[in-house]
């Protein structure tokens, strides 16, 4: 792992990888941990300073080292998303979820007794439904 990858969490407990721009991954995992105490379920990765090949290589190593079958990214057009899409061509069974928010990640974190791939489907609905506008 490069210095741009947060490895504060124990890889043995990792159920999913979160990858994104800047401090997105460490930030959103920190929020999950503050709310649920389950931040150690996730491994964070930033694309800062990395070219596409390095992003893809770092993600591939993270998947192979942790056994994680779910990868969350921040932006559909982002370089992490592009790298994951390339990487999972050779890794059937690994799922990419992009455009995530905190509600989605919280729901996924709380389903720690459920298969991670199954947990994603319910979490997706929670994430989509959580966005709302008030006032105006």
């Amino acid at each position: 792992m490069s210095t741009t990858t947060d490895t504060d969490v124990a890889p043995a407990t990792v159920r999913a990888i979160v990858a994104g721009h800047g401090s997105f991954a460490t930030g959103i995992i920190s929020a999950v941990d503050q709310i649920t105490g389950r931040g150690s379920s996730f491994l964070a990765m930033s694309n800062s300073g990395l070219c596409l090949d390095d992003i893809q290589g770092t993600l591939a190593r993270a998947v192979d080292d942790t056994g994680a079958r779910v990868i969350f990214t921040d932006l559909p057009a982002g370089s992490c998303t592009m790298a994951v899409r390339r990487m999972i061509r050779a890794r059937p069974g690994v799922l990419l979820v992009t455009g995530i928010n905190l509600s989605l990640l919280l729901d996924f974190a709380m389903q720690d007794a459920v298969d991670p791939v199954v947990a994603v489907n319910a979490a997706l609905e929670r994430g989509r439904a959580s966005m709302a506008v008030y006032g105006g």
Partner: protein, 164 residues
């Protein structure tokens, strides 16, 4: 409307291009110039899925891009020409008959042998010479990752050791 930006970015289509530049420039098309991507349907589909519906992506080899540059510059909507490395931009500029006036170094990231010049620009000596060669053809070369950042002129870029 002329092409709004000729950009060197080793991540090709990604957040900075689609959102960071795409929204303020109201980009409606991206010309992705890469010989490898131009021959791979899978890679093209990957990049197409990364852009919003109002934005189209054209895939060209360097030779095809040079051949189509005049008509691309006449399109009424704003667009961007995107390459993944300095060598590709050098080849495009050399075939452009002076149609490219400015080149944006948007992202050349760390790899072995490269020296950090800016936070988002790392260069080998041949790559530095490649940028000088582009500039020698009358092209204004500067480094700028996002529109709100200050463009760093080539002379300053090649002498920068701060990595700022």
């Amino acid at each position: 409307m002329p092409i709004a930006l000729y950009r060197i970015d080793d991540r090709l289509i990604h957040g900075q291009v689609v959102v960071g530049w795409g929204q303020p420039l109201e980009l409606r098309f991206i010309v992705l110039v890469d010989d490898e991507v131009a021959s791979s349907e899978w890679e093209q589909e990957l990049y197409r899925m990364g852009v919003p519906p109002e934005m189209s992506v054209l895939f060209y080899t360097v030779d095809d891009a040079a051949a189509h540059l005049a008509e691309l510059q006449k399109r009424p909507e704003p667009g961007i020409v995107l390459v993944g490395d300095i060598g590709t931009m050098g080849r495009l500029v050399a075939q452009a008959d002076g149609r490219i006036r400015a080149v944006n170094v948007g992202g050349v990231h760390h790899s072995p042998g490269r020296v950090q010049r800016l936070r988002f620009v790392f260069l080998t000596p041949p790559e530095e010479q490649g940028l000088r060669d582009i500039a020698a053809q009358g092209v204004d070369v500067s480094a700028q990752d996002v529109p709100s950042a200050r463009p760093v002129p080539l002379g300053e870029l090649l002498t920068s050791t701060t990595g700022a």
